[in-house]
Symmetry: C2
């Protein structure tokens, strides 16, 4: 069907490129923007522009930051002997939200994926090894439980173990509130093999 306006058509097309936004949601958002006061739309556009222009990556951990060094790395009260290695800056935020980790982070910027042309050099693995030379006692590898995430974890472990660093992997198993009946087989297998003494 031809829309009566190419501006509307173009806007819906661009909005539907966003993750989780299909053509119906995009159309709904476009009509909402059309009815919203100009000031509110300008606020949205301003926020996106500022995000794109001003955000920086922390020189220490590679996480998202407004300053040269992020608020986590510059926090004097955090444990500076433990590093948590994550794939992306958003993973760092998820762990921060859990409140279960009090050390520093290291953002890899992805995982080793030879099929996509991503080798160890494309990630900040060399920098991780450098950081580990100064006072780091424990590294928790929190890459995702995927084939690439597991392979990257193994690769990093092989580099750090000879440096006398305790290399840990986050636990995989049943999610809290999960149900044995409905959980998938690989997760259940992980939760059996990774069992802990009570």
């Amino acid at each position: 069907m031809n829309l009566p306006s190419r501006y509307l058509e173009n806007c819906i097309h661009e909005l539907s490129k966003l993750p989780g936004i299909g053509s119906k949601s995009a159309s709904r958002i476009a009509f909402f923007l059309l009815k919203t006061p100009k000031a509110n739309v300008d606020a949205l556009i301003g926020a996106i522009t500022q995000l794109k222009d001003n955000i920086r990556y922390c020189e220490e951990c590679g996480g998202i930051s407004d300053e040269a060094v992020c608020s986590v790395c510059s926090d004097v009260e955090r444990d500076k002997t433990t590093l948590c290695v994550v794939e992306e800056p958003e993973d760092m935020l998820s762990i921060e939200k859990s409140g279960a980790f009090d050390g520093l982070y290291h953002v890899l910027g992805g995982v080793i994926a030879p099929l996509d042309g991503v080798g160890p050099e494309e990630l900040s693995i060399n920098k991780l090894v450098e950081r580990c030379k100064s006072g780091i006692k424990e590294v928790i590898i929190a890459t995702n439980p995927t084939i690439e995430g597991d392979a990257t974890a193994l690769y990093i472990a092989s580099l750090l173990k000879p440096m006398n660093i305790k290399v840990m992997r986050i636990a995989h198993g049943l999610p809290v509130g999960g149900d044995l009946e409905f959980v998938d087989a690989p997760t259940l297998a992980k939760s059996i093999t990774g069992r802990r003494e009570m």
Copy 2:
């Protein structure tokens, strides 16, 4: 939880004001925008800005248009004796998509809702009456089947019937592919009272 960047926080806040976007989706979109090449983000911003700055409402029907008169109103092949009255421009697009209507439209710009301070004067009802004076034989009222939509339909019918115009209401009943077992009671009641001879 405090995000490590106020730009990120502000962007998530603005995105979560969009319809159907909660804080999780907003966060996902913000991170997506962060990783997307600047040119793509500029294309999105440009599309929204153009939509906001350039879109017009058709002088005839009140629908969305790039020109003074929309493509439906200026189409010489459409039946100019039948008007379909809808609440919003997006309703017009939905009916166009169905392909079941070949006449012209009239967009009210809302429904009569005294509690929200919307009376008949706030809608384009006077203009509808004017349009009906020149050659309109049938008016199909396609406001939504809500209390306000039904009341608005009744009000419009009371104005147009004395003008010797055939005033119709779109049918309400079971949706195509629907299931008697799961349909709600008011819809089922409508489909019984609105039964047709086979």
